[in-house]
């Protein structure tokens, strides 16, 4: 079993303290929901966990090890996939930068091969989000941090995306932290729900 642990984490933007003595733990067989007020620091925590913010105090570890260079086993998926893709790369390159999934996985996510030759701007939000999820499912990934990844999607696409993501995550034993303001959604897909206020001072 793999364990993701955040111990005594403190972080602020300048003098503006956001995360105060945060402690959190999950394992790779869990799907955990993270809930909390707007502006309370959920996205900030996601960036801390995945190393996009690194000037924090405290420890983030997987099985007791801090991440030092190389592929990060904790991967972040954002609400807006277009913001983190190179607009001049074709979709095949966007995906291959991480890894190339086999055909059955591409089909599971409804990825049409004709899309490989297109640029990010030539796909809809739902289609792009499928790519960014698949990109994060590199076999070396142990945890996925999903920061409001389905709020911009229609309800039908939302179910499809979660169904595919959680099927693969369970199969590969990848833990998923789901950030959302939609309590009904969290109740549908999570084993447990954590309030940000309960894990900080």
């Amino acid at each position: 079993m793999d364990t993701l642990k955040a111990e005594n984490v403190n972080f602020g933007y300048g003098s503006h303290q956001i995360l105060k003595n945060l402690n959190f733990e999950m394992n790779n067989n869990q799907v955990i929901g993270l809930f909390g007020d707007s502006g309370s620091g959920k996205s900030t925590l996601c960036k801390v966990l995945t190393g996009f913010i690194n000037d924090y105090e405290g420890n983030i570890t997987v099985n007791g090890q801090k991440h030092k260079g190389g592929y990060n086993p904790i991967q972040l998926i954002y609400q807006h996939p277009e913001k983190v893709m190179n607009p001049r790369w074709k979709m095949k390159d966007v995906l291959e930068e991480s890894w190339m999934p086999d055909d059955s996985l591409l089909d599971e996510f409804g990825i049409k091969r004709e899309w490989f030759g297109r640029y990010p701007s030539e796909l809809s939000g739902g289609e792009l989000q499928r790519f960014s999820i698949l990109r994060s499912l590199n076999p070396k990934t142990k945890f996925i941090i999903a920061d409001e990844i389905s709020t911009m999607l229609d309800a039908v696409t939302q179910v499809q995306i979660w169904e595919s993501l959680l099927t693969v995550a369970r199969k590969n034993e990848v833990g998923v932290l789901v950030v959302s303001h939609d309590k009904n959604l969290l109740n549908r897909i999570c084993d447990d729900i954590v309030y940000l206020a309960d894990i900080t001072d």
């Binding site: 933007y13 909390g36 007020d37 707007s38 502006g39 996205s43 609400q79 409804g110 049409k112 004709e114 809809s124 939000g125 739902g126 289609e127 409001e148 709020t151 911009m152 999607l153 229609d154 309800a155 039908v156 696409t157 939302q158 179910v159 499809q160 169904e163 303001h181 939609d182 309590k183 009904n184 959604l185 109740n187 549908r188």
Partner: protein
């Protein structure tokens, strides 16, 4: 009540070049017809990429220059040409944009919400109103002085909504006002929208947030692949949804986490290959023979406007 805004047979297409030479028309909105009264909210739902934002941009006159537009958009019975669109934009017609990239990254939040005013007196009134709206949304005075990059997702959304509330519009076009808002802010927004409606404003509310649509709107229009496929009374989005007649609308309702979270297979086809016949037939479990050959016309059935040969009339 009178018709504030009427959209009739609106089509939008882009010309795109393929492999450098071959030019093709990409029709992204097809013969769209809908209208809004004063004191009314028309919600627009639909699949991602079905043309909802483009509809909003067409009404406001802010489509990119390579877009071709056909059909008619009328404001109080008067055809809206580019000049009239520009005259109304930001004044009689307010816009809440979908993308938080619409905030100016170099301008403090407070200054962009208030906008440019010449008279000091007018400015004071706006400053006061801005603070009231921000208070409602729990945006502290510190936030007034922040730049957009310092805002969380939900805070940026609140700033966009506040901008539209500050003006005194007759029509509001709201493109996804609620994603990323917490429960309390969503309730606040719902109250604001209903209050505006009671004051007489007519609104097009584009959203994936069906809860907000249900709480505020009178009618709901559903789009798929650039077509209106159903316009129904909001009250039909309740219970087991048996009065929702179009198969896609029914799937959409049953996919909600608060109803069944039911999985429907299949994705919206590409605009490069709009299927012949009904735009939904590739994924429709209810299809009949003509669905493959003919485009169903919009028609009225049980008080609902629908585009379907074989609607779910008996509550299947």
């Amino acid at each position: 009540m009178s018709k504030l805004l009427e959209v009739e047979k609106l089509s939008i297409s882009f010309s795109q070049y393929f492999k450098g030479l071959e030019q093709r028309e990409l029709k992204v909105l097809s013969d769209l017809t809908m209208d809004v009264d004063d004191h009314e909210i028309l919600a627009v739902l639909g699949s991602s990429g079905s043309g909802k934002s483009l509809l909003a941009h067409a009404i406001l006159g802010i489509l990119p220059s390579n877009a071709k537009i056909a059909g008619s958009i009328r404001y109080k019975g008067k055809e809206m040409d580019d000049e009239l669109k520009e005259e109304l934009r930001g004044k009689k017609i307010s816009f809440i944009p979908q993308s938080v990239n619409n905030l100016n990254p170099l301008m403090k939040v407070k200054d962009q919400v208030i906008g440019y005013t010449e008279s000091e007196e007018e400015k004071q009134v706006l400053v006061k109103k801005q603070r009231e709206i921000f208070n409602q949304y729990n945006l502290s005075e510190e936030v007034d002085e922040m730049y957009p990059f310092q805002l969380s997702g939900g805070m940026a959304r609140k700033v966009l909504i506040s901008t539209a509330l500050l003006n005194d519009p007759e029509i509001i076009i709201a493109d996804e006002p609620t994603p990323g808002l917490d429960e309390q802010a969503v309730e606040e927004t719902i109250n604001n929208l209903v209050e505006l409606k009671e004051k007489g404003i007519g609104m097009i509310l584009i959203t994936h947030d069906i809860h907000t649509a249900i709480e505020t709107s009178d009618r709901i229009a559903i789009l798929y692949l650039g077509y209106v496929i159903e316009i129904t009374d909001t009250k039909n989005f309740s219970g087991d949804g048996k009065n929702l007649l179009h198969p896609y609308t029914r799937s959409l309702y049953r996919a909600l986490p608060e109803t069944h979270f039911e999985l429907t297979e299949g994705h919206q086809p590409s605009y490069q290959h709009i299927p012949k016949g009904c735009p939904y037939h590739e994924n429709c479990p209810h299809q009949v023979r003509e669905c493959h050959y003919e485009l169903p016309e919009l028609r009225e059935l049980n008080g609902t406007v629908i585009r379907c040969f074989n609607p779910l009339v008996d509550g299947e």
